[in-house]
Amino acid sequence: MAFVELIDIEKRFGRHTAVDSFSLRVEEGEFVSLLGGSGCGKTTTLRMIAGFETPTSGRILIKESDVVQMPPNRRGVGMVFQNYALFPNMTAGQNIGFGLKVAGRHPEERERRVGEMLALIHMEEFRDRYPHQMSGGQQQRVALARALAVHPSVLLLDEPLSALDAKIRMRLRAEIRAIQRKLAITTIYVTHDQEEALSISDRIVVMKDGRIEQVGTPFEIYNRPATAFVASFIGSSNLLHAIVLDPEQGKVAVDGQEIAAAGPLPGKPGQEVRLTIRPESIALNNGIPSNNHLKGTLANVIFLGSIVRLVINTGRSELLMDTFNNPHLALPALGSDVTVGFAPEACVPLEREREELLSPTERPASYVPPAAGD
């Protein structure tokens, strides 16, 4: 039984549809991230769960009861905001104890719980500090403790790290995850940062234009992206336009060169299909015969520190290839002919995008397979 369930949620603001056909089940104790660019509807979805927005249609169930008509203060949902939202007139301790005070808990119990929460975030000595006397990272930890102090059934975090600098962000996200695991609290986390989502989540919901593009574990999302958007939004990837040669065998042609994907492909011979390959799955001049090979010319070399990125021109397509940097790395000269290889498993066919399904785009009228031995 899902702990939090969103059923066919739609949210419209005037003519604009912010969230559309959104359905999701979150299990108890699970950490789910909503990931997408700005305006994709992720924050609106979170605000609907919190009760700050009302869905235009659809149902939201928390522990099997429909909360759509329930005001935010009765949902038992803890929320952490991007800009901390600590009450400036209260100390860290008072902020953490606010929810307990509102609930009419005994002062002694309140004090004990505030102490526990401060210990959880390792900030016992900050109890009497005001928000303006703390750094951003410290304020956000207090905000997290404040949200957790009232034992919410669900914890919602709305881009909690995006106002912090990179180092603090990395440390705090590990801390958030550790606390979430320790308390086993069902958590929904909104972020636009793919690395954050990949590193922290049990599952990721990738969103675009108010709809879900893909739901999966970080491993699935990264390695088996369902759509071109997911492939390009998460990490770097090559998007190749290929023509299906043999759908059963997974054979396709990219710029006239034949390669194979690991499994059967959608479509019929002659149809266009899109494939994605991660740059780190491609290697230069590897002679493994079972691998796919593509010929091209080396167009550019980009030094990225631990990684060196090669840009290879295969005709119509441009292929990115990553290799680890090492001091003895010998790369071919720019403009020279190179052959790259990759495993069939690295070739991931993509679903057609929604807009493509809605309106047929131009397809190649005819396709002549390359002659044998070509």
């Binding site: 803890g78 509102v102 703390m134 750094s135």
Partner: protein, 260 residues
């Protein structure tokens, strides 16, 4: 250096411009007794039962006006901020009306409207307070609005609600304490408007401090100067109280990059 020297000259001239009349008034107020400087004019003012009566009346009216204006304006400003940001231009226009419509027009309108049934309020202080609320509306609305802008109202109210707080708790424990300085300035502006107001009090025939000051100014010589200095001291006293009460209330935002 030369430019700096000139700026000091301008500061000195400005200071003289503001303080000379004040010093002159003060000195004049001390000349109640021929040949010596004395506080006799002040003694006259304080011993006049009318001073105490009118000042107390105006003080009471000021307190009621402040409470009424805040009770009206705080929910309105919060509503505009959270739910109706598009209504802001309309409210801004309303807030300009008391400047455009002279109090004499306002008071004749009030008398005409409320001197007969169904609301014969012309003899009730309610009408005076209502008029004062209209006069103080621009100041109160702007002060409260500025206070709400300085905090992230939406986020703070949402944070309070997600922690289980109802609207009343959110308002009294979170919103109001964080706009305390603005509320104080709204209160003191209203106070000074009400205490010095003349037209409404005269036309509605109330024994207020404004008409009393006008009367004293017409009939006596040194006492009006003493009254001016007393009013000035009251204003400064109010400012000092505002500073003292607002002390300890810190700004909401932390400087990023502190000790992490």
């Amino acid at each position: 250096m030369r430019r700096k020297g000139w700026s000091w000259v301008w500061v000195a001239l400005g200071t003289l411009y503001f303080f000379l009349p004040l010093v002159a008034t003060f000195l004049f107020s001390l000349k109640g007794k021929k040949g010596v400087l004395s506080f006799i004019a002040y003694a006259h003012v304080f011993s006049d039962p009318q001073f105490v009566q009118t000042f107390t009346f105006s003080l009471e009216m000021a307190v009621v006006t402040i409470l009424a204006a805040l009770a009206l304006m705080i929910p309105t400003a919060i509503w505009v901020h959270l739910r109706l940001p598009r209504a802001r231009p309309l409210i801004e226009i309303f807030a300009l009306l008391p400047f455009v419509i002279p109090p004499i027009v306002l008071v004749f309108g009030l008398i005409r409207m409320y001197s007969r049934p169904p609301l014969p309020l012309v003899t009730s202080p309610v009408l005076l307070v209502a008029g004062y609320v209209v006069l103080s509306f621009p100041y109160v609305f702007r002060a409260v609005d500025a206070g709400l802008r300085a905090i992230d109202l939406r986020m703070l109210t949402e944070a309070a609600q997600s922690l289980g707080a109802r609207w009343g708790t959110t308002l009294f424990r979170v919103v109001l304490p964080n706009i305390r300085v603005s509320l104080l300035s709204a209160a003191f502006l209203t106070f000074s408007i009400v205490v010095g107001e003349l037209t409404l009090a005269v036309m509605l025939a109330w024994p207020a401090f404004g008409p009393y000051m006008a009367l004293v100014g017409r009939d006596l010589a040194y006492e009006p100067a003493a009254l001016a200095i007393i009013s000035f001291a009251l204003t400064w006293g109010a400012l000092v109280v505002m500073q003292l009460l607002s002390r300890g209330l810190r700004g909401p935002a932390a400087t990023p990059g502190g000790v992490h």
